[in-house]
């Protein structure tokens, strides 16, 4: 029973028989953000039980908004009190790291989720069903698509208010994910945010078959990948005899002090380490949607309810990249020479693959999906930089990207025809003539995706490429540049479609949303331009936040 057995939150219970169980030491204040959200999630479940159906929508909305806002406030508070810079520490007995990247990413995730909640709660877009406002979620998840059950549910005006607690749970997981400081926490967090997302994907009101299909695909592949991740965890544990990041890092770079024979034996076996590391990496790359683990992305993005897609696209990426950064910078720095070339390859195929396949897409949501893949590639370029600049650039990019994404998907929810959202590109023809404003806003987002100067997309891309170049990955920058050139092509295609082609007579209309979605879009545009024109403040923030606690 070495000391290593005791340090971990999870193993305190496993000591010799004692008269009193020492309670683990938890720094509640540092963990406040996560605790608030998870608490709200639990409350949300209770609300579903006790509050009458009529009041649920509002109470749930209120609950989740306040929770997220409060959590964000908590993050700001922590950051303000220097927990992100000077007072970084490992909380909850080594389970959770409270440091710059963690706080920055948690803040980003919370804001993104806040923006996303508004799109969740939008009830003006769909035509009223039987005089009742309806949102973009199915009336009753269990009912068969098109069956009597469904009609009855619609008639009764049911709404799936469970989405809010589900989302809050997901957010909890996402908050923990980039902060996780041992492999088990990492795994738990992964599952905690994955499972609700699987469900959320299945809850679209229109096109339910696609929605369910998306859920199944996402679920099966997700589970598959988490199995790999878990096996990787097992192997790493086998190698280092511990799941704690710090400990594994020590063992990996051989700075570990007390070496018992078992450890010595396993340490000798690099295969464990390398295979384990690779599998872990794969699990995370799946979540960020890097080639070749990306194939779920387009289908899921297309099938899921658009608000969920936006939420997923933004928040999941942030969380996953956070975890990836921590893994590579904290756990496996000793393995740079092994994983860097591999990531090079992944980054290259991701950038090019995403951009190239996107060229021929015909569905706006799939298009954005592929563009998100390409962007994952760009971010990876920053991850590879292996410098503080690299970290900060990635943080900045993630912040910038998530708002553009949510905004873009929010606009997608507005463009509708009889069959709900009109996501086929051909229907977007001439949108610029019908409603210049919406088209212009979407154009702004597209330009940001394309990385045109004076948008956040450019600032982010520049930061990442700069970091990569300084990190000695010049070739990667060149390829990235080429990829963005290819990518520019299809973003521009959409703009051409919207502005330069004649509107179709039976084309879709742009629904006028409630203030909720408007806020989301407005925030998206504001952040996009702000980060584009005057990114300095946020760059500073990311710069300060770029120190991992070890």
């Amino acid at each position: 029973m070495s000391a290593s057995a005791v340090h971990s939150l999870w193993t305190t219970a496993a000591q010799q028989p004692v008269d009193s169980i020492p309670a683990p030491h938890i720094e509640y204040s540092q963990l406040a953000p996560m605790l608030i959200v998870v608490g709200a999630a639990v409350l949300g479940v209770l609300v579903e039980v006790v509050v009458p159906r009529k009041a649920r929508y509002h109470s749930q909305l209120f609950l989740s908004v306040t929770a997220l806002a409060a959590a964000f406030a908590a993050v700001v508070g922590l950051a303000a009190t220097g927990h992100g810079t000077t007072k970084v520490q490992i909380a909850a007995m080594g389970a959770i790291a409270v440091d710059g990247p963690a706080l920055f990413l948690q803040g980003t995730i919370l804001l993104a989720s806040l923006a996303a909640v508004f799109t969740f709660a939008e009830r003006r877009l769909d035509p009223r069903a039987h005089g009742k406002h309806v949102d973009s979620f199915v009336a009753q998840a269990g009912s068969v698509p098109g069956g009597e059950g469904e009609q009855a549910a619609v008639r009764a005006g049911f709404t799936t208010t469970e989405v809010y607690p589900l989302m809050l749970f997901a957010v909890t997981g996402m908050l923990v994910f980039p902060a996780a400081n041992d492999l088990l926490t990492l795994f738990i967090a992964l599952e905690v945010f994955s499972l609700p997302l699987y469900l959320l994907c299945a809850l679209a009101r229109r096109k339910r078959l696609m929605s369910q299909e998306a859920a199944v695909k996402y679920f099966l592949l997700g589970a598959f990948s988490s199995a790999f991740l878990l096996f990787g965890i097992a192997l790493l544990y086998g190698y280092a005899g511990s799941v704690s990041y710090a400990r594994i890092a020590e063992v990996v770079d051989g700075s570990v002090r007390a070496i018992d024979p078992a450890l010595a034996q396993t340490m000798g076996n690099d295969a464990l380490l390398l295979i384990g590391g690779a599998m872990l990496l794969m699990g995370l790359l799946f979540k960020v949607g890097a080639v070749p683990f990306h194939m779920w992305t387009p289908d899921v993005y297309q099938g899921a309810p658009t608000p969920v897609t936006g939420f997923m696209a933004a928040a999941t990426k942030v969380a996953a990249f956070g975890a990836l950064l921590r893994l590579l910078y904290v756990v496996l720095p000793g393995l740079n020479w092994d994983w860097r070339p591999v990531l090079w390859g992944v980054a290259i195929v991701t950038m090019l693959g995403g951009a190239i396949v996107a060229i021929t897409q015909t569905d706006i949501k799939r298009l954005l999906a592929y563009s998100s893949i390409a962007h994952a590639g760009f971010i990876l370029a920053g991850v590879i930089a292996l410098t503080p600049d690299g970290i900060s650039s990635v943080l900045f990019y993630l912040a910038a990207y998530s708002f553009v994404t949510i905004g873009a998907f929010a606009v997608v929810t507005l463009v509708r025809d009889a069959g709900g959202e009109a996501t086929h590109l051909s229907k977007w023809a001439g949108l610029g003539r019908r409603s210049p404003l919406a088209a212009a806003v979407f154009a702004v987002f597209l330009l940001a995706f394309a990385g045109i100067p004076l948008t956040s997309g450019f600032a982010g891309k520049f930061a990442v490429f700069k970091a990569a170049a300084e990190g000695g990955a010049g070739a990667l920058v060149v390829i990235g540049v080429i990829a963005s050139a290819i990518a520019a092509f299809f973003y521009i295609r959409v703009i051409v479609l919207m502005f330069f082609s004649e509107p179709k007579p039976e084309g879709p209309t742009v629904a006028v949303p409630s203030p909720l979605t408007m806020t989301t879009i407005a925030v998206g545009v504001a952040v996009t331009l702000a980060l584009g024109v005057a990114p300095q403040y946020f760059l500073d923030l990311a710069g300060q936040a770029s120190g991992f606690v070890r």
Binding site: A271, L274, P341
Partner: protein, 631 residues
């Protein structure tokens, strides 16, 4: 006094500006404004001339620096003038003949609704031509050079609604551009060699550079001269240029502009003196053109084209003389001036004939006009006598001197060029006699014109006859006036140094043979056109005749080689640009599209396929990491 030089140019320039921008308001009086301004500048010219006569022979050169034109590091181009005997000669010729022709045009263009613009162009021409001869550096000369080109373009194509006219104008400009290319390269070469292109420094420092360089410059200048003065091989435009109104042909394409090439060569004498090879080239060009033009002149039935051929050949004489160096310069200029008189006169006569014959130009449809156009007949006749060089008319003096100079060389050259010059005199006599006979003598062969209107030949109005008379006076007396006591030679000597030619055979013999040759030519022409009736429709004629009618196939050559070739080239280039240059780009785009389409197929919608790709990816990942460690 010096400012007069600027005013000299300013006057016609002002006229051009007024008439071209003035709009309809000036339609009424415009032509008089122009004419007056032309005379004004002639007046200035005479004043300056008087002033110059007042000075000693060797410091008659006046320099006037107006303002710095293009000041760039290491590059000074000024708007500055140099008025010496040479340019003075031209000033008087240009403004004098120019004013007369303005006057003539008042009558000639009376019924043209675009008369105002015509006079605007004429004034523009005067200004440009004066700038050309007054400039004190080659760049400013180049400005005038192209300026006259523009004016000639506008005036040749004055009747733009006639496609032939528009084409002729374009052709003239383009051919001239080829020459201009030579001039501009020459200027650049001067700049790189001497660091300047002002006359005085360049011409004074010719000794400091290699002969090769000077030869190069000389040849380029010759190219320019060929373009402007319609010398072989750039002569083809002059014939077509007759599409322009007759006063234009008289002023620009006979008296002044076409002689600019001679001016250029004479002005650059110092360069040529130091570059014998270039000189030889000049002589050859002159000799060839001399015959070339003469032959064409023999074959044309269009009176103006016949005269154009003659102009070509006469300028050939001048160029030949200019190529002979100090022994020839003065005579070149002298012939230039006399030619200015009689050729302008001849053209105006032709114009008056056309004026009386419903603008008919085919001499085969003239005949017996001497009764109906007495003044024209007389003035034309005097011009005729002058050009063929009958003593004591002006042509005799100038041309005879040139022939003497041509004989004044060493070895075979003397005989070759002398012989050619002599032969030319004979042919000149032949074709001019032909023109004379076909137009004024013989039976009336008048034909109704396109509207079926019978011609009623009548003498032209006074505005037209007066200039003709004055020019006739010039063509009678000028030569004698110049040659008595070598007035003209001495006058020019300070600028173009002069040596007495020493012909290989004695002067009287040359003179005698010249007269003999021209008598033969005239007699021959009389035998052919004076004794038997002239058919109204041209006989097929000998091979040479037919070739000569087609400008000795020069145009056909141009058409086949340049025009056709050019069209093929451009068409194929357009194709290349579209398929190759553009194709590469579009091809890349298409390539990416195709690749995208193929990669897209992998996304086949089956979850298990996705799982496979994940599994494979994981395998690769693991393998790669292990590999990294292994290596």
């Amino acid at each position: 006094m010096d400012n007069l030089i600027a005013l000299l140019i300013a006057a016609p320039l002002l006229g051009a500006a007024l008439l071209l921008c003035g709009g309809r308001r000036l339609d009424g009086a415009g032509h008089w404004v122009a004419t007056v301004l032309a005379f004004v500048s002639f007046l200035f010219g005479t004043v300056l001339f008087a002033d110059m006569l007042g000075k000693a022979a060797d410091d008659r050169t006046v320099q006037q620096q107006l303002f710095s034109w293009i000041p760039v590091e290491g590059f000074q181009a000024d708007v500055a003038f140099q008025l010496d005997q040479l340019s003075m000669t031209f000033v008087l010729l240009i403004t004098g003949v120019g004013s007369l022709i303005h006057l003539y045009s008042v009558g000639y263009m009376e019924h043209d609704e675009r008369r105002r613009r015509f006079f605007g162009y004429l004034n523009l021409f005067l200004a440009a031509m004066l700038l050309l001869v007054l400039a004190d550096n080659y760049l400013l000369l180049y400005v005038g050079w192209e300026g006259v080109g523009l004016a000639s373009y506008l005036l040749i194509g004055f009747w733009q609604h006639k496609p032939s006219a528009a084409t002729a104008a374009k052709k003239a400009f383009l051919v001239n551009r080829v020459g201009d290319m030579g001039l501009s390269i020459a200027v650049m070469l001067m700049f790189t060699t001497f660091g300047t292109f002002a006359f005085t420094p360049v011409l004074e420092s010719t000794g400091e550079t290699s002969e090769a360089m000077l030869t190069a410059i000389g040849l380029l200048l010759l190219l320019a001269a060929c373009g402007k003065s319609a010398q072989v091989p750039l002569q083809s435009w002059l014939g077509d240029a007759m599409e322009g109104p007759t006063p234009v042909s008289a002023l620009i394409h006979a008296a002044t502009m076409v002689t600019a090439g001679v001016y250029l060569i004479v002005r650059s004498g110092a360069i040529f003196n130091a570059a014998p090879d270039a000189q030889l080239a000049v002589v050859v060009v002159g000799a060839v053109t001399l015959l070339f033009g003469a032959i064409i002149g023999c074959a044309k039935d269009d009176i103006k084209k016949a005269l154009a051929g003659s102009t070509m050949s006469q300028i050939g004489y001048m160029v030949l003389a200019a190529g002979l160096g100090p022994i020839g310069y003065a005579f070149a200029i002298m012939h230039l001036v006399t030619h200015g008189f009689f050729k302008a006169g001849l053209f105006l006569g032709a114009g008056s004939v056309m004026h009386g014959m419903n603008d008919e130009v085919d001499m085969r449809k003239y005949g017996g006009l001497r009764k109906y156009l007495p003044i024209t007949f007389v003035t034309f006749g005097l011009g005729y006598l002058a050009i063929i060089g009958v003593p004591p008319f002006s042509g005799f003096f100038s041309k005879d001197k040139i022939i003497e100079a041509a004989f004044a060389q060493e070895g075979a050259r003397a005989w070759i060029f002398g012989g050619i010059a002599l032969l030319g005199a004979g042919i000149t006599a032949f074709y001019m006699t032909r023109v004379m006979l076909m137009t004024f003598f013989g039976k009336q062969r008048w034909q109704p014109d396109a509207e079926g209107e019978e011609p009623h030949p009548h003498e032209a109005p006074r505005t037209m006859t007066i200039p003709m008379i004055l020019l006739a006076v010039g063509s009678v007396g000028a030569g004698a006036f110049f040659s008595i006591g070598d007035r003209f030679v001495n006058w020019l000597a300070p600028v173009t140094e002069f040596e007495h030619p020493h012909p290989v055979i004695s002067v009287p013999v040359i003179t005698a043979s010249t007269i003999a040759v021209l008598l033969v030519g005239a007699a021959l022409a009389y035998a052919m056109y004076g004794t038997r009736p002239v058919p109204v429709t041209a006989p097929r004629g000998s091979l040479l005749t037919r070739a000569a009618r087609r400008d000795l196939l020069q145009d056909d050559f141009n058409h086949v080689v340049l025009v056709r070739g050019g069209e093929h080239l451009t068409r194929s280039l357009v194709y290349v640009d579209h398929t190759l240059v553009d194709g590469v780009v579009n091809g890349t785009a298409a390539g990416f599209g195709g690749l995208s389409g193929r990669l897209r197929k992998l996304q086949n919608g089956y979850a298990r396929t996705y799982a496979v790709s994940m599994f494979g990816g994981a395998a690769v990942l693991i393998a790669a990491t292990l590999l990294m460690r292994a290596v």
